[in-house]
């Protein structure tokens, strides 16, 4: 019995091995045709056009736009909501708001994509008529809404874990509630909050359906958030939807971009876990 059950646990390890092997098996032949230097610093990504260019920077630019944009929107909003729920809200309010946000967390990503297409993008284009139909801002807004519950839930947990004695000590010194919250509670929970931000940004980088629908399919280096871009994930979807024969260099780009995505998100997740374990405040 133990062996069978051990095999089940082994499947999780095999999955990781499988991911790495599958990504590498198709990526290594790719790097025989394209130099790693061109891949890393090339500024054009045009695998489907002649002449073909394989510089990942435009896709990275699109991905970073979404991560930064959704972060600008969701990190302050999420942290403020977490602070309110943990420090100010009466238990009754918290019991209403937390499940409501859990509903938000359970909505599939493709629904957020739909929301971007029918509601957010028209609104953005009404405010800025020069914006593309597909643009960074509308994708960032919906991805921001999407990662919000994660930030709220994780940050609220670490805020609540700050012991009461710290708060009461600060009150005893004559602090107002504002001082206690901003100067004592939030700094004490800083590492946990940081980790929740990293996990949320990693989620934003790996997010696929919403950005495919909302950000567009124009891999370009741009500084204008009203432009259309393409993220790494959206590129993978674009190629997967077509009929690219296996073994061609276009087919291999799926795996190469997937490898870059895997390395990026894995790095962020490991960093978040490291921060959580290394900087966890030990009380008493």
């Amino acid at each position: 019995m133990a062996l069978t059950l051990g095999a089940c646990a082994g499947i999780s390890v095999l999955t990781t091995v499988g991911v790495v092997v599958v990504l590498l098996v198709e990526s290594i032949p790719f790097f025989r045709d394209v130099s790693i230097v061109e891949f890393l610093i090339g500024t054009k990504w045009t695998p489907l056009l002649k002449p073909q260019h394989f510089g990942i920077l435009p896709l990275l630019c699109g991905t970073m736009w979404i991560a930064v944009g959704s972060g600008l929107f969701a990190l302050p909003l999420g942290l403020a909501t977490a602070v309110y729920l943990s420090e100010y809200a009466r238990p009754g309010i918290r019991d209403l708001v937390k499940p409501a946000l859990e509903i938000l967390a359970g909505i599939p990503s493709v629904v957020y994509g739909y929301f971007a297409v029918v509601a957010v993008s028209p609104l953005i284009r009404w405010i800025f008529p020069q914006a593309d139909v597909f643009n960074v801002v509308s994708a960032s807004v919906v991805v921001g809404i999407m990662i919000l519950p994660m930030i709220v839930s994780l940050s609220e947990d670490v805020l609540r874990a700050v012991p009461r004695a710290l708060r009461e000590g600060a009150y005893a010194l004559g602090s107002t509630k504002l001082d206690v919250t901003v100067r004592v509670v939030v700094p004490s929970a800083a590492s946990g909050i940081m980790a929740s931000f990293l996990l949320a940004l990693s989620r934003a980088i790996g997010e696929t359906m919403a950005v495919t629908l909302a950000a567009g399919a124009t891999p370009q280096l741009t500084l204008n958030p009203l432009d259309s871009v393409q993220t790494m994930t959206a590129y993978i979807v674009q190629i997967s939807q077509g009929d690219t024969p296996a073994g061609t260099i276009e087919y291999r780009t799926i795996f190469v971009v997937g490898l870059a995505l895997f390395v990026l998100t894995l790095g962020m997740n490991v960093l978040a876990q490291y921060i959580l374990s290394r900087f966890r405040e030990v009380y008493e």
């Binding site: 403020a80 739909y114 929301f115």
Partner: protein, 291 residues
């Protein structure tokens, strides 16, 4: 007389504190309002198209004749298979880690690995499925390729929540069972599992509802939106509700957007039911068992 804070300074501090509280309250309200705007938009756009015909028609190039029958039944196939695959494996892995594995390098390695897998973007699982199931095992773009891929996506969630449920069973129960001469497996099967089933089930339902909404890995393993039949075997082509919604949202015609909204209402209704059941289980059984 005790020294007093000068009156204007105290007032400013009170005002600042009040402003901060209001700002945080505003953020909370905004988060909740966004939820209602999102759901409201979908309902407003979709209710008009939500008819019985929508549920019973196959997809079509013409919006007035298109329906979600193939997608809904495809989703049902996928979810059924995914549950059959991921639950035994996930619960098995959890039992191994909680009840059998000794604390050591190997256990910590597996645990760390599961935590990391939970953070891998789902499209990467799609690429794994494409390389492994679709190509290497030559299962092609079939419903079984999709189900195997989705199983891998939700496996970490199933394992982690099942572990949580097993861990909440007190050690004394196990010791009592051993004291009566039961073997380890008898203890697990007759004592530990029965009381942890509500917890495991809650986790499984949440994991399955995640699988039901996933589109990205399915696109990578070749689910296509235009499938005008219902799968009748493991090797058949298929489509799924999120794929259908994705396809309709991508089209420029407004009529298709309304259809997408109607399909979203169907999908969200199912998800809400599943989540409701999970919450109910947690409430009902969480209270009944007292150690």
């Amino acid at each position: 007389m005790t020294p007093q804070t000068p009156e204007p300074l105290a007032r400013r501090r009170r005002l600042m504190a009040r402003a901060f509280e209001l700002a945080c309250l505003g953020a909370t309200l905004l988060s909740v309002v966004l939820l209602f705007v999102l759901l409201g938009t979908v309902l407003y756009q979709g209710l008009g198209s939500l008819t019985w015909d929508l549920l019973t028609r196959l997809p079509s190039r013409l919006p007035e004749r298109a329906g979600i029958k193939a997608a809904a039944l495809g989703s049902l196939w996928l979810i059924g298979l995914t549950t059959l695959i991921s639950v035994p494996v996930g619960v098995g892995a959890a039992i191994y880690l909680e009840e059998y594995a000794r604390d050591g390098r190997l256990r910590r390695l597996i645990q760390l690995n599961i935590a990391n897998l939970a953070g891998v973007p789902s499209i990467v699982y799609g690429i794994l499925g494409l390389g492994l199931f679709v190509r290497a095992l030559a299962l092609d773009r079939s419903v079984i390729s999709g189900a195997l891929t989705l199983s891998l996506v939700i496996l970490p969630v199933v394992i982690l929540t099942a572990q949580e449920a097993l861990r909440s069973v007190p050690v004394s129960i196990r010791h009592a069972s051993y004291a009566l001469g039961a073997t380890r497996w008898q203890t697990i099967w007759h004592q530990v599992l029965p009381v942890s089933i509500p917890g495991i089930l809650t986790g499984v339902i949440l994991a399955v509802s995640r699988a039901l909404g996933e589109a990205a890995p399915l696109v990578a393993v070749g689910a296509v939106a235009y499938v005008s039949f219902v799968p009748s075997g493991l090797r058949d082509a298929y489509t799924a509700l999120p794929i259908q919604i994705f396809d309709w949202s991508q089209r420029p015609q407004r009529e298709f957007h309304d259809l997408a909204a109607a399909a979203i209402i169907v999908l969200l209704a199912v998800l809400l039911c599943l989540n409701g059941i999970a919450v109910y289980l947690r409430q009902r059984y969480g209270k009944r068992v007292r150690w």
